[in-house]
Amino acid sequence: MEKIILIKYGELSTKKDNINFFLTKLRDNILVALKDMNVNVSYDLGRMFIRTDADIDEVIKRVTNVFGIHEINVGYIIESNNINEIAPYVLELLKDREFKTFKVESKRSNKKIEFTSIELSKMMGAEILKNIPDIKVQVNNPDILINIEYRKDNSLVYFEKIKGLGGYPVGTLGKGLLMLSGGIDSPVAGYMTIKRGVKIEAIYFESPPHTSIEAKNKVIKLARKLAKYNNDIILHVVNFTEIQEEIYKNIPHEYLITIMRRMMYRVSAIIAGRRKAKILINGESIGQVASQTLTSMAAINEVVRIPVIRPLACFDKLDIIDIAKKIDTYETSILPFEDCCTIFVPKHPVINPDKVKCLEYEKLIPYEEMIYKAVKGHEIIKIEEKEKKEFEDLL
């Protein structure tokens, strides 16, 4: 009998012609998540099998963070598909489990077996009742569900189901660029996009000396949390000081935020183009702040042609916070450091900015030149999930 981990795909299995592309990507992603362990991952169209001599709990913990998995089971392969030979193994596996009610569910992919699935379940059920005292069969909601699959050369037994995250394997749907601030929303928007199979890179705008190194460290920390789902993550850090100062000095203050966002969009679109990202992603949510009214969004969005995906557009703040807590970005997001969007805030930002005025005001600053400079000199940081132990030599 061999202990294995069984992975079921869910939504993926509806893909027809290109399912192999999805599955090889899923396998790659699983291997990345387990890269420091000795594992073997094989698959067929129905599911994936992980064989390993490493700690099974640790493998499961890591695999539950991989998108594209519907369900995870710990299974046992028995080298027989004869019910009489399998029964002693099943009893052995049941020995350490506590339950009062049970149900056997059988599947036979080997149609040469002479019994039907229902007959197989009944026979195994009878065998279990005979050998374990004080238990009974219960069809609805049993304490334990015993799944047995009679396969071509062997059979597979498993019990508990562990729910996976669902979604698509990261990278199967191309690349996107996430506008990552230090706030609560943008990491959640990133997470939701990764879940749909999009591999993301992130872009962050810093304005030293108005923003501190701590603000940047915070964004790196947030990116690291996303790296867990994204395999790793590339962070583009753009120095925005000059642009922001010029806007502040030359443009009517009620339009500060609108123009600033337009500049951020322009920079992001250029970097997305260079990195072959097909979409921009941000954490905007309709109505949340002045720059997120529909008129504002339209006035800001018009400066780029790349599609902008806003996964949180219709989410309430409290629902966003729930997800932020679940993916462990919330505590980092609420650390109080100034970022680009919180410095130079006008008292009364315009709620319904006029596109024509935007264009007019922008003529007051040499923004194309400044954007060129900012993109050219921007810093690229590769962030892995595991923090490199920075002070290893001292500790």
């Binding site: 501190s212 190194i213 701590e214 460290n217 920075e390 002070f391 001292l394 500790l395």
Partner: protein, 376 residues
Amino acid sequence: MIYLDYSATTPVGFEVLDTYNRTSKDFFGNPNSLHELGVKTKNLMNSATKQIAEIFNILDSEITYTNGATESNNLALIGCALEYHKKGKHIITSKLEHPSIYAICDYLESMGFEISYVKNDEEGLVDFEDLKSLIRPDTILVSICAVNSETGVRQPLKMIRQIIKKENPETIFHSDMTQAVGKVSVNFHDVDMATFTGHKIYGPKGIGVLYKNSSVNIKPILYGSGKSNMLNPGTPPVPLIVALSKAVRLATTDIEKRERFIERLNNKVVDAISKYEGVMINKTKYSIPHILNISLRNIKGETFLHALEDYEVYVSSNTACSSGNLSTSVLAIYNDRVRASSTLRISLSHLTTTDEINKFIEYFDQIYKKLSGLHG
């Protein structure tokens, strides 16, 4: 020199000292400063704290740095008394504690708190029945050390915790783990608060820790500014903290292997000196091997200590902290004043060599023969 007083203090590890020096030189910034050097220093300090937290399976925020075990004990006991005095004024401790616990308890007693001393059995273990009967609704704190500093008797903290929490779930359980950490494996989750210090684990002197579970509140005993921890105001001593973290990591690596080695040395000494008529071995089945306590009939412990000193062999009589008096711990276990009046503590380390032990046995023999004729 043959140093056999490792339970009094330890020599600082070479690598630990190196860490201290480099941190002092390269990370001298104030971790509360906003500039880059301050941030870098803070990051280093946080990494050091995180390492300690991971080793003991606790949260970073549950660690408060102090200047040593005595300060940790003060913060734990007085901080708890200040926080809960409205709920109750009853505190329980054992008869096998470090003198600092008694000094703090005496102070609290003078402030109107009531202190009970739980009995122990002849093996040195806390008497569970007595403990149970002492716990009352107004018992706010129980403080019992993990390992007794004089005899090495180790208490079953998990069971003690169960008894306390069953009688009164609100009672806080503190343990002075100074003599346990780095010698034997400990579980901080057995207690609500724990004390340990750097200089007993080959770390620098002047840095200790109070672990406080996040579900427990205590009041500070020092007030000042400081962002890292309200229980520990002021500028954190980053080089000491980083060096402590390194010392903790080194001391907890291979802890079981070291313990087995020390056990062999301990047995060797016991085998050799228990044959003397005037020597009593104060060792119970719960004593850890790092601490070996003996009583000398008819020879003063201090005299023997100074005689060993002539051979450059260093041990303790009673403990370094309470020299001169009766050994309270030996008295508590054996209830024998003569036995408690002249004790020697030989404390061993993984650094101790078999050769050192052989020499110690040889010198012990010479001194014993010389001195045993003079008294009695």
